[in-house]
């Protein structure tokens, strides 16, 4: 394995001020060699962001490492304590980094898993693709419409395989649900109503303060506008701030609505109107909706998707001993068809389909749908064969757009008429200006 360089020539130039006289600091040679790893070739992978879901991914990759499919070469985090813990989990021979760009410089690394806070997803995915790395990035794909477009462009132009972590699509019962709906078991589906419990509120707000010594706050914020550190705005709880996490709709919405778009065969389509109502936290820093109702209308074919916090939760069904038990019944969706309804709970790593779907036997000539071998396995296959991943970047950006437009309608307090082809809000220039946001130097896509 090539040894990592801790202070690169490019970094030296940048820090020494020599950059000013250099026309282009990023040579094309940083890109990986053309071609795909062979079918039997072991993939060398790094994990960027190792807290929360990142820790899960690291442990998961160790499982694949034991079976010889991958080699974990590096881990990265802006929190030294989390990084030290990850180094211990990763074991010998794994290099730690604070700055993910050192990883992108290494030409021995084929792919990266990105599990940083949401506001980093787009920038890091774009950079990784530009440096010839395949990407598995946590959901939601992006925080703005423009970020999503940059991700698609980077993946397509650099021919990188990107899998987004809406892993519900890869669950076995999701496959059963997809097959059930695709074969018209409840007729033509005209409405999908998602339900999810409300977002939490911050009952103990605190003032801004200095960041803890182990945290590189500048690098944590990355592309976001500068703001002082606050304990209620960092690991885990970033989820409840609009500019970073976007609330439940961008967290679980990126799962439940991912299933809806896939099963409705609606990837690549977009709603024509988005209208949101919601309630706000009554104190504290968090500003995402507590309760929320979003209605998306689709045309040609016509159907309606709604996101509801809390909506009308469906009590979980009884399952017999030995059947996979529903561990997260607080969210899911009801599909309303001409000939009946269908319910699923969860929609992420746990996706549970109603009994009648699980017991449904496809008739002769039934439509078959793709069954994913597993979300990471599907990604590995994409890397090695060039096949589209089940939650490819185009599909994932489409789902993230739903989440982001739902939040935008709430923020603006008005209905949005959406031109999905042009990705513009019709007749609303202030809304269009909010489809992207300027990024702080030098953390831009």
């Amino acid at each position: 394995m090539k040894q990592p360089i801790q202070l690169s020539r490019r970094a030296f130039l940048a820090t020494a001020g020599g950059a000013i006289s250099v026309p282009y600091l990023i040579p094309g040679g940083v890109r990986a060699a053309e071609g795909k790893p062979g079918a039997n070739e072991r993939l060398t992978i790094a994990v960027i962001g190792v807290g929360g879901m990142g820790g899960h991914h690291l442990r998961d990759l160790k499982r694949f490492q034991r079976s010889g499919e991958v080699h974990v070469a590096a881990v990265c985090d802006v929190d030294e304590e989390r990084l030290a813990s990850a180094v211990k989990t990763a074991g010998a021979g794994v290099d730690p980094y604070r700055d993910y760009r050192y990883i992108l410089e290494r030409d021995d690394i084929d792919a990266v898993v990105i599990a940083t806070p949401d506001h980093w997803h787009a920038v890091q995915t774009v950079h990784a693709c530009e440096c010839g790395k395949h990407v598995y990035v946590e959901k939601p794909a992006c925080c703005t419409i423009e970020e999503g477009q940059a991700m698609i462009a980077a993946a397509q132009s650099n021919k990188m395989s990107v899998q987004v972590g809406s892993q519900g699509r890869s669950q076995h019962e999701a496959y059963l649900a997809h097959r059930y709906l695709a074969n018209g078991a409840i007729g033509k589906v005209h409405t999908v109503t998602c339900f999810h419990y409300p977002s939490p509120t911050d009952d103990n707000p605190v003032p801004d303060s200095d960041p803890p010594a182990e945290l590189d706050w500048d690098l944590w914020l990355g592309p976001l506008r500068w703001r002082p550190y606050n304990k209620r705005y960092c690991h885990g709880v970033f989820r409840w701030l609009m500019e970073s996490g976007g609330g439940q709709i961008r967290d679980r919405g990126a799962h439940v609505m991912s299933c809806a778009m896939y099963w409705m065969n609606a990837d690549g389509t977009a709603p024509v109107t988005i209208e949101t109502t919601g309630t706000s936290p009554t104190k504290g820093l968090w500003d995402s909706c507590v309760n929320m109702n979003v209605t998306y209308t689709f045309k040609n074919p016509d159907w309606t998707l709604t996101w509801n916090q809390p909506g009308e939760p469906v009590p979980q069904e009884e399952r017999t001993e030995g059947e996979p038990q529903i561990s997260r019944p607080g969210y899911g969706a009801v599909y309303h068809g001409d000939n009946g309804t269908f319910v699923h709970w969860g929609g992420d790593g746990g996706t549970w389909a109603e009994r009648k779907c699980r017991e449904w036997t496809p008739p002769a000539g039934a439509i078959e749908v793709y069954e994913s071998p597993g979300h990471k396995e599907d990604w590995f296959n994409g890397i090695k064969t060039g096949a589209k991943t089940i939650m490819n970047i185009e599909a994932a950006v489409g789902v993230a757009d739903l989440c982001n437009l739902g939040n935008l309608s709430y923020i603006l307090g008005r209905k949005l008429n959406w031109d999905g082809a042009q990705r513009r809000v019709i007749g609303d220039e202030a809304a269009n200006r909010m489809l992207g946001r300027p990024q702080r130097h030098p953390y831009h896509s």
Binding site: R10, G17, L25, L104, E105, C131, G413, A430, R433
Partner: protein, 222 residues
Amino acid sequence: MSVSDLGRTAVAVAATGATAGAAENKAVDELIAHVRDESDTVRTDAWRNAGEVGAPAVTPLAAVMANEALEVARAAKRALWQIVRHSGRPGADVERKAVIAELIPLLADEQPGPVRREVLWMLSEIGGGESVEPIASVLSNKELREDARMALERIPGEASLDALEAALEAAPDDFKLNLAQSLRQRGVEVPGLPCVKLAPTKQTKVTPWTPADAQPETTAKG
């Protein structure tokens, strides 16, 4: 009467002219009083419905943003944002321009830094050509120049582009790359100033794990 009702009254009465000022003042006073209220619910209701109170509330709300009570200051900021976003709605050009006219003086040096920073971002959402010069004047402030740069980047049109190009000419070396980033985002080639987005700069003190780091296993006794 709720703040929302007062806002609607202010807008409706404004059309009649004579009593407009009184109605606006009443709506603003009510809004400020509710934003400063001790009750979380009253404050939240006030800022959520502040949009229709509009431009007359901008300066008074900015003053409350500096309040020592954290939640009161936060409610004032959120109320101001509601006004900005309400005024940006389609067909509200007169209201939008009135709000911009109230926001621009809040960029002045004597205003608190957090207020100026917030106003830069507000103008980035609804500002037009009239906002460019006031924002560009903030580029000389080391604490706020990055926010001012991003605000200019976001405002469409030739005026903001010209301001960014002029700023690049005059900028100190440690800010030129920032401005170059904005210009590239706006589709301008910037020869001689490299894009540094992929250049790593920050090193960790954490070292790779080695077998020697393993804790010796303890043996249970007894």
